[in-house]
């Protein structure tokens, strides 16, 4: 697995993020999450599966300066209502709670699409799409693109409990097979996605495993994929201050095609990385040997 270039179609075409004042079209509760649909002209046209949006929170009087980032769940180019983009999010802290209180017609400041999308295989190979919690959101658009390329699509959706799963019904339409796992067994297999993955890979001769979810899951999924000689494409979630590549907060140790480990920006060089390239056990550290480590006065 020296380089991914041979396996995946390049997504070279120049696209640039836009900053638009979107308008809330609808906001719905879905299990423990909120499903937000925004009219935001121009963004949908540019979106590829794996891209994300950065939303400003709190309005004019906000004490929260930093944008919140969300994977794009759906993107519909301009129709009757102008282009729409959709996200699925958990209301945790101040910013996402503020978003969860938005009403139709409220304005939202949106920047996107951001980040590198999932790479798509050149050949019509069998693929597994693994989503943890809201991590399934970007996988539906991906499934569509894969089916267009006549790839077999198998989905594995996992969460702690049923209310934390997203899109299990939609998955039945999007994929040949759908496997659901919950830690508490409230629905599907009692366990985690990686309990189901090995069997799925062998049975269906999976050649590419796409995943999005918590870092721990991405790492475990990658291990399984590598074991079975499959490619792993992971969409990571690192804290981001700018989302556009100027601040260097979102870095992660990733091995480049030249074999050198660098701290790379997950907002522009990611969020999608070859799972085998991410130095999972070194996340949160600067692994020795990293490009530029150990210079400049010991830190």
């Amino acid at each position: 697995m020296t380089s991914t270039d041979s396996t995946f179609a390049s997504s070279a075409t120049e696209r640039r993020p836009l900053q638009v004042t979107g308008e809330v079209f609808s906001i719905k509760r879905v299990g423990d999450y909120f499903h937000l649909t925004m009219v935001a002209d121009g963004i949908a046209e540019q979106t590829r599966p794996g891209n994300f949006l950065a939303l400003a929170v709190g309005g004019d009087t906000s004490a929260h300066l930093l944008r919140r980032c969300f994977s794009i769940y759906r993107a519909r180019p301009a129709g009757v209502y102008g282009g729409t983009v959709e996200i699925v999010f958990a209301a945790g802290g101040a910013g996402t709670q503020w978003l969860s209180r938005l009403q139709p017609h409220d304005a939202v400041d949106v920047v996107g699409p951001l980040g590198r999308p999932f790479a798509l295989p050149r050949e019509p190979v069998a693929c597994a799409l693994v989503g943890g919690g809201y991590g399934s959101a970007p996988l539906f658009g991906l499934a569509e693109r894969l089916r267009e390329r006549r790839c077999a699509v198998h989905m594995v959706l996992g969460a702690a409990t049923e209310s934390r799963l997203f899109g299990t019904l939609e998955a039945r339409r999007a994929a040949q097979s759908v496997t659901v796992t919950t830690v508490d067994g409230s629905v599907g297999i009692k366990g985690v996605v990686t309990d189901a993955l090995p069997g799925l890979i062998t049975r269906n001769k999976i050649e590419v495993v796409y995943s999005c979810g918590p870092m721990g899951m991405l790492r475990a999924v990658t291990d399984v994929a590598v074991e079975h000689g499959a490619w792993s494409q992971t969409a990571v979630e690192e804290s981001m201050a700018c989302g556009i590549g100027v601040c260097m907060t979102c870095v992660l140790p990733v091995e480049g095609d030249d074999g050198v480990i660098k701290m790379v920006r997950s907002c522009v060089e990611g969020p999608v990385f070859g799972g085998d390239k991410v130095q999972w056990d070194a996340v949160g550290t600067i692994p020795t040997g990293t490009y530029g480590a150990g210079t400049g006065g010991g830190h």
Partner: protein, 339 residues
């Protein structure tokens, strides 16, 4: 200001002079908040800014601090990037040429961990054609002096500036960027100006810390970090005010929490000849260019036809010409005992 007749925004002259360098307008990016301009070019034309200040560059490539590298705070944020960067070779080969191609005015921020490193960077950057100025980030630990930060000691700070000034060609202004985490920023300013600084950039971040209440440990991988954003604007404006009063005639670039044209005007009135926009970019990628537009409107509304007329205005009743009224600054009595 109601008595003054408003002007057309287009009639406002935004040009400003910074240590003999003419800028089309007084708005720049803040170092470390705009990379080398490439990413912002997606949102606006960086050529339309007064200048683009690049991320502080060091001699060698540098991986920076472990993550997490940021924490949001009320009206601000903490960062602990640790000066991650590609090193001067790559910067001069890839980043600077791109900026020059765009027709932007680059101000190159340099950072070192020894006097020799600063000197080498000054020579290499200073001799590259097209560099509008060198900004010297002295908020760095000095490996030759128990890791003490240059910016916190007037003598060490002056040493850095004098070697940089010595090794930088005459035509290229050297701007010293100071830390607010000192007992007297006026003392540091005086000392670096005596050492040859052609201008001052006030302020760098304030040292802060946030505890992550989930892990019950410091939230930043680097433990402490730099506080930035509108939260620190009153501290930055105060620093500009004090230094402008103590060192009249020394060009100052104000930085710290600039988010709007009104914020920029506040810095000009306090004595800055230009301003930089940093953290606000993370909230609004187009912030720097928006600030240019808004500043133009703020000046027009007040009947101020030239940026120059606004500089230092708050130090003296409207109409007077120079920063003369020192009566209410540098006096610890007035300057302290707030409660």
């Amino acid at each position: 200001m109601a008595d003054l007749q408003a002007l057309h925004a287009d009639d406002v002259d935004l040009t400003t002079v910074l240590a003999d360098t003419h800028l089309d307008n007084p708005v720049m990016t803040a170092s470390g908040c705009a990379g080398a301009g490439r990413e912002l070019q997606q949102f606006f034309d960086v050529r339309d800014l007064g200048a683009v200040v690049t991320k502080s560059i060091m001699r060698d490539p540098r991986s920076g601090r472990p993550t997490p590298r940021m924490a949001e705070t009320p009206s601000g944020m903490l960062n602990s990037i640790g000066l991650q960067g590609p090193g001067i070779d790559s910067f001069l080969a890839r980043d600077l040429p791109w900026l020059l191609q765009q027709g932007a005015r680059p101000i190159v921020s340099i950072a070192g961990s020894s006097l020799a490193e600063y000197a080498e960077l000054a020579r290499r950057v200073g001799h590259t054609p097209g560099v509008a100025a060198i900004e010297v980030n002295i908020s760095c630990p000095n490996v030759e002096n128990r890791g003490l930060v240059f910016a916190c000691d007037p003598v060490q700070a002056a040493r850095v500036i004098s070697v940089v000034r010595r090794d930088t060609p005459r035509g290229v202004p050297v701007l010293a960027k100071l830390s607010p985490d000192v007992t007297s920023i006026v003392e540091i300013a005086q000392s670096v100006v005596e050492a040859g600084a052609d201008g001052l950039v006030l302020i760098n971040t304030l040292l802060g810390l946030r505890v992550d209440l989930d892990t019950m440990r410091p939230q930043l991988g680097g433990v402490t970090g730099g506080l930035s954003g509108p939260a620190i604007r009153p501290v930055a404006v105060r620093a500009v005010w004090q230094v402008a009063a103590a060192l009249p005639g020394v060009p100052i670039v104000g930085v710290g929490g600039v988010r709007t044209g009104a914020d920029a005007l506040e810095f000009l009135a306090a004595g800055a000849s230009a301003v930089q926009v940093g953290t606000a970019i993370f909230n609004d990628p187009a912030a720097p260019i928006r600030v240019v537009r808004e500043l133009r409107e703020e000046l027009a509304r007040r009947g101020i036809g030239k940026v120059g007329e606004a500089i230092g205005l708050a130090h003296h009743p409207r109409g007077a010409t120079a920063v003369t009224d020192l009566s209410d600054v540098g006096q610890p009595p007035a300057a302290r005992t707030e409660g």
